[in-house]
């Protein structure tokens, strides 16, 4: 689900569970700590991201949890 590609990290979120508005809201809230690039495939939103300050290994997981929290 979360893979590392040449120091660039990617988060893969299923479109059936994570609406685009939620992801955009989360990107907005994480914009101070990360730079995101949102792409789409057929079933997934693909988020390339680079942390702005320091590389925190849990950022991607925190981002997924944050999206889930916004869904409530």
């Amino acid at each position: 689900m979360i893979k590392i590609q040449q120091q660039k990290k990617q988060i893969k979120l299923n479109k059936s569970f994570y609406p685009k508005e939620i992801i955009l809201a989360a990107i907005n809230d994480f914009s101070e700590i990360c730079i995101f690039l949102l792409k789409e495939s057929d079933n997934y939103f693909l988020l390339d991201f680079e942390p702005k300050i320091e590389d925190n290994p849990d950022i991607s997981n925190e981002f997924c949890n944050y999206c889930l929290g916004l869904l409530k």
């Binding site: 689900m1 569970f17 997924c64 889930l68 869904l71």
Partner: protein, 133 residues
């Protein structure tokens, strides 16, 4: 991947220390799964995947070493059951809840029902819409 349950729907990835939960959406709806996942957000990283019509996959990754993936999986399982019972009971009691609410409104404002009845008499279609909602 090591299977943790007799049903084979819970798998443990020892290398990456996470649990993969396969759920049949006909048994637990997406609402219930989301509610159960929400409870575990402070203890675990959770990711939803799969197909909402056929099989929903829930990846549960502990945030710290205090919680083992196995324990979190069982906790998640209990929460699923907890919310499904809550939802079933809530739907069962829906009629009584509405009745109580109507009674409260009626006690405080008897004009409320007069207004509704007058509106329904004038526009029977609105009554049908209310019932459908």
């Amino acid at each position: 991947m090591e299977k943790l349950s007799a049903l084979g729907n819970i798998e443990l990835n020892k290398e990456e220390n996470y649990i993969l939960f396969s759920i049949n959406p006909k048994i637990y709806s997406l609402d219930i799964i989301r509610a159960a996942a929400y409870i575990l957000l402070d203890k675990a990283y959770i990711l939803l995947d799969g197909n909402p019509e056929e099989k929903i996959l829930v990846e549960i990754r502990p945030k710290s070493k205090e919680h083992s993936p196995q324990t979190l999986a069982m906790e998640f399982n209990n929460e699923l059951l907890n919310y499904s019972v809550y939802k079933a009971q809530s739907e069962k009691n829906k009629g009584i809840r509405e009745l109580l609410l109507q009674r409260i409104l009626f006690t405080n404002n008897p004009e409320f029902f007069k207004e509704i009845n007058e509106r329904d008499d004038q526009n029977p279609a609105a009554k049908e819409t209310d019932k459908a909602e």
